[in-house]
């Protein structure tokens, strides 16, 4: 018994200690955001702020050029929600088609979808920009939101896997009861794939929330900026050395991501383990 507990201690000190080491930079960022700006680097070795101050958060919240950080959060939230709705609807419809319906050329289109999973984004970046500028969509969130309404290969793949675990007898029984294909989808399948839809919603949130390249390409006026772009702006003004405000807003930006993760840990972990979704 005692020998086992020694081994137990060694394991947890080793693994737990390593986990703390990995997360130390994040903890340091958090604690630094409560330090007075001018002491962040002179006291970098100690984690505990002395004195604790809130001014960084107040400073940072003022935002840039008269636009408060709250506006950037609101802009990002709108972007996240619109994209999420589009991806959930389109991906569940498409995945149902691939998983349940029989039609000519299905294997071909499924293979096409899997190939697009591996396509480097850079290849389409320039022509997509040209396309959206022809549509007159520059300086709006349309280029970031609208493609979501036409499916997202990773999410479709995940849903197809999930739908295939649902017994086909349910569909057949519903057909005998007079359901058409669409009501099989909406009444039988959709309620059963809710857990998978939750996983999709979570990842959709992460990806839109963190997205930088899209907003940098398509949003020009500061009133439309997302949180990533606002942070990027803070960085460009770094010469004024208001690190405190920048750290504080970095922390604020991380909070929703962390909260969602700790609430939905199981969906997130299972989503990655079963489909290889990149987090």
């Amino acid at each position: 018994m005692r020998a086992k507990s020694v081994k137990w201690w060694i394991y947890h000190i080793l693994v737990g200690g390593f986990a703390v080491l990995m997360l130390y930079p994040v903890i340091w960022l958090l604690m630094s955001s409560f330090k007075p700006s001018n002491t962040i680097f002179t006291t970098a070795q100690s984690l505990i702020p002395h004195p604790w101050v809130w001014t960084n958060f107040l400073d940072g919240w003022k935002g840039i050029g008269g636009n408060s950080f709250g506006l950037f959060i609101k802009n990002t939230a709108v972007l996240v929600i619109l994209t999420m709705i589009g991806q959930i609807i389109s991906c569940s419809v498409i995945a149902f088609g691939f998983a349940r319906l029989e039609f000519k050329g299905k294997a071909f289109w499924f293979a096409v979808m899997l190939v697009t999973l591996m396509l480097p984004n850079e290849v389409v970046m320039v022509p997509q920009y040209i396309l959206f500028s022809k549509f007159g969509w520059l300086n709006s969130i349309k280029p970031l939101v609208v493609p979501g309404y036409f499916g997202q290969p990773f999410f479709i793949f995940l849903l197809v896997q999930f739908i295939r675990t649902i017994p086909r007898e349910l569909d057949e029984a519903a057909t005998i009861d007079g359901c058409n294909t669409f009501s099989i989808f909406s009444r039988i399948i959709v309620p059963l794939i809710k857990p998978a839809l939750a996983t999709i919603a979570i990842f959709s949130f992460y990806w839109s929330w963190d997205n930088l390249l899209g907003p940098v390409l398509y949003l020009n006026s500061p009133t439309k900026y997302t949180v990533s772009m606002a942070l990027n702006m803070f960085l460009s003004n770094e010469s004024v050395s208001n690190w405190g405000a920048m750290f504080a807003m970095s922390v604020v930006t991380l909070i929703p991501v962390l909260v969602v993760f700790f609430i939905f840990q199981r969906s997130v972990v299972e989503g990655i383990s079963t489909s290889g979704l990149k987090g």
Binding site: F41, V112, M113, D210, S228, N232
Partner: protein, 322 residues
């Protein structure tokens, strides 16, 4: 679940279509129409946002185009310039190759090591798994890039640690190769999602293999080498392909850490960043398109190469294996 396997299953599935047909026997035409109606968003999106842009990009790569005047056909001039007359391009290729081929193997090795440590019955594993995954979750964000920039600064905690250990401090922002390693460390730090996939794979390996091997007197290394690695090889392949592709596309950390310049001395000028600068700072859209096509062909060849050589080292369990 590997992509190939899923594809195979889909094909099998479509062959064994519902055997028992309900009484309202649908016509073939109606079935096809229904199928295409459901997947039509994908097809439309694929044509509009993928295929047409890819072909446009191919056309533009043979032109001189700045977005404001009409594209001007110049044949292979962009490609010729890239291959023979742009040292900065070759520098960015070299930087990217170092980033990918140092970063991805280290990241996967790390992910596998931690996954094996966590593959125990301990109740705390759930907590550790989440903690180790966290960097991967937040790693792509601007916040983390800003954090990374500051912990590697001259007065940052990394240099404090080096000083504490008696190692000479490194000026991470003064030295191009140190700056590149700063990016590679950031990529290794985000080993979490690969770790989760490995962990799921390790859980799928039957304990009886290890028990039998132990009875035959195999030591830890032999068990790892003869059981764990072969059994895990399809998952290693999957991780390798996906991580390599995404490493080639890395943009945010290089953009933020170098404040959009790729500096110091182009030390962090990753391929995507140079492409972005060519396209959207210098408005050489044709040139950027040529870069994109070289990237597409290169990634295609590399993926094909990984899949072809995979026959030599990937072990697929026989049908009745499980």
């Amino acid at each position: 679940m590997s992509v190939q396997k899923a594809e195979k299953e889909i094909q099998q599935n479509s062959m064994s279509a519902p055997v028992m047909r309900p009484k309202n026997k649908k016509s073939k035409l109606k079935k096809n129409l229904e199928g295409y109606a459901f997947i039509s968003p994908f097809i439309i999106g694929f044509l509009a946002f993928t295929i047409i842009p890819i072909l446009t990009s191919l056309y533009l790569s043979f032109t001189n185009y700045n977005l404001f005047s009409a594209p001007h056909w110049i044949g292979f001039a962009n490609y010729k310039k890239l291959f023979t007359d742009d040292p900065r391009y070759w520098h960015s290729v070299r930087v990217t190759l170092i980033y990918v081929f140092a970063g991805v193997p280290l990241r996967l090795a790390f992910a596998l090591l931690i996954a094996m440590l966590l593959n125990t019955a301990s109740r705390a594993v759930g907590l550790y798994r989440s903690l180790f995954y966290l960097p991967s979750l937040i790693g792509g964000s601007v916040s983390v890039a800003i954090m990374w920039r500051n912990i590697f600064g001259d007065q940052g905690i990394i240099n404090l640690l080096l000083k504490f250990l008696g190692i000479p401090v490194v000026h991470w922002f003064g030295n191009p190769s140190a700056a590149l390693w700063m990016l590679i460390f950031l990529s290794i730090w985000q080993f979490g999602s690969s770790m989760l996939i490995f962990l799921a794979g390790l859980k799928g390996i039957s304990k009886s293999y290890y028990e039998a091997a132990s009875m035959d007197g195999a030591n830890g290394w032999q068990r790892f080498n003869k059981i764990t690695l072969p059994m895990l090889s399809p998952i290693i392949l999957f991780n390798l392909v996906m991580q390599t592709i995404s490493a080639f596309m890395t943009f945010v950390p290089a953009f933020i850490i170098s404040k959009g310049t790729g500096g110091p001395l182009d030390g962090t000028l990753l391929y995507s960043l140079y492409l972005f600068l060519q396209g959207f700072s210098f408005f050489n859209m044709g040139y950027a398109s040529a870069m994109a096509w070289i990237m597409l062909i290169f990634v295609g060849i590399l993926t094909g190469f990984i899949f072809l050589t995979s026959k030599l080292w990937v072990h697929y369990e026989s049908e009745g294996g499980r």
